[in-house]
Amino acid sequence: MGSPSASGSASGVGGEERELAALRAGDETAFLALVSRHHGAMLRVAAMFVKSRASAEEVVQEAWIGVLKGLHLFEGRSSLRSWIFKILVNCAKTRGMHDARAVVIALDELVDEGPSVSPDRFRDDTERWPGHWSQPPEPWPDARVESSEMVALVRQALETLPEAQRTVMSLRDVDGWDSGEVCELLGISEGNQRVLLHRARSKVRAFVEEQLGSEGSP
């Protein structure tokens, strides 16, 4: 199942035009490929606006219907992907209002979350070299970093993150979106996007460190 392609867009502008032509011509394979490529990210994004997993799935289905309806009108001023996700977000917001779920980025994910690394790993201000490591990170063995174990740990860690952080890191690092696209889609500022990404990656790093450390060196 899981698509092997690195991420995101249909390999460049020419690829997208071809894809669009195939879709408009009713090519089922092209349609299913498009659906598979974006499904996971669409669910993630939808989940930010609605209450339940089931609602998110419905929103994604609804968005695809919207995409089909609008396919003849799509002018290619944005990428196909951002057009699809714009439709998705509109559907999700409408549904979110029904669900009475206030959209969207929980502000407490932005403010006041404490530092990326526990303060007791640094020398305190009364010591020499205040603010420098007292318990520094140990390099991770290459063999483990390059193994599927590492990828599995990152997946596990991602699932533990608060929603906005998880969404931003997934879109950026898993799906390969650039920061501008993420900001536009979620309606957040560049700065906030970066804070969320930073929190997310820092926590994932800490999680991996803990797991690799607690299992002992090979």
């Binding site: 089909l68 520094p136 590492m150």
Partner: protein, 89 residues
């Protein structure tokens, strides 16, 4: 130069890593960041780990679509095809 540029501490550096990787640090801070890395193995390790995390995330694939959802969409696509007939010839 070194004299006029206050050092960044490790505790500060770990909070700047993402801005650094995103190339969003102002020049002066970037210089301090890199000066620090020049002598601090530990922070170099930290930075490398943040890159390793990012790179491992790239290897992940998103959840794939459930078969029922897939066939529902395919049915919708076929309806659409019948209804609007794809592009006019």
């Amino acid at each position: 130069m070194k004299l006029s540029v206050p050092d960044v501490s490790c505790r500060e550096l770990v909070e700047l890593v993402t801005e650094y990787l995103e190339a969003r640090l102002p020049v002066e801070e970037r210089t301090r960041f890199e000066l620090h890395l020049g002598y601090c193995d530990w922070c170099r390790t930290y930075l490398r780990q943040m890159r390793q995390v990012r790179d491992a995330a790239e290897e992940l694939t998103e959840e794939s679509i459930a078969p029922e959802a897939k066939s529902a969409l395919l049915a919708a696509f076929r309806d659409w095809k019948r209804g609007s007939g794809g592009d006019e010839p």
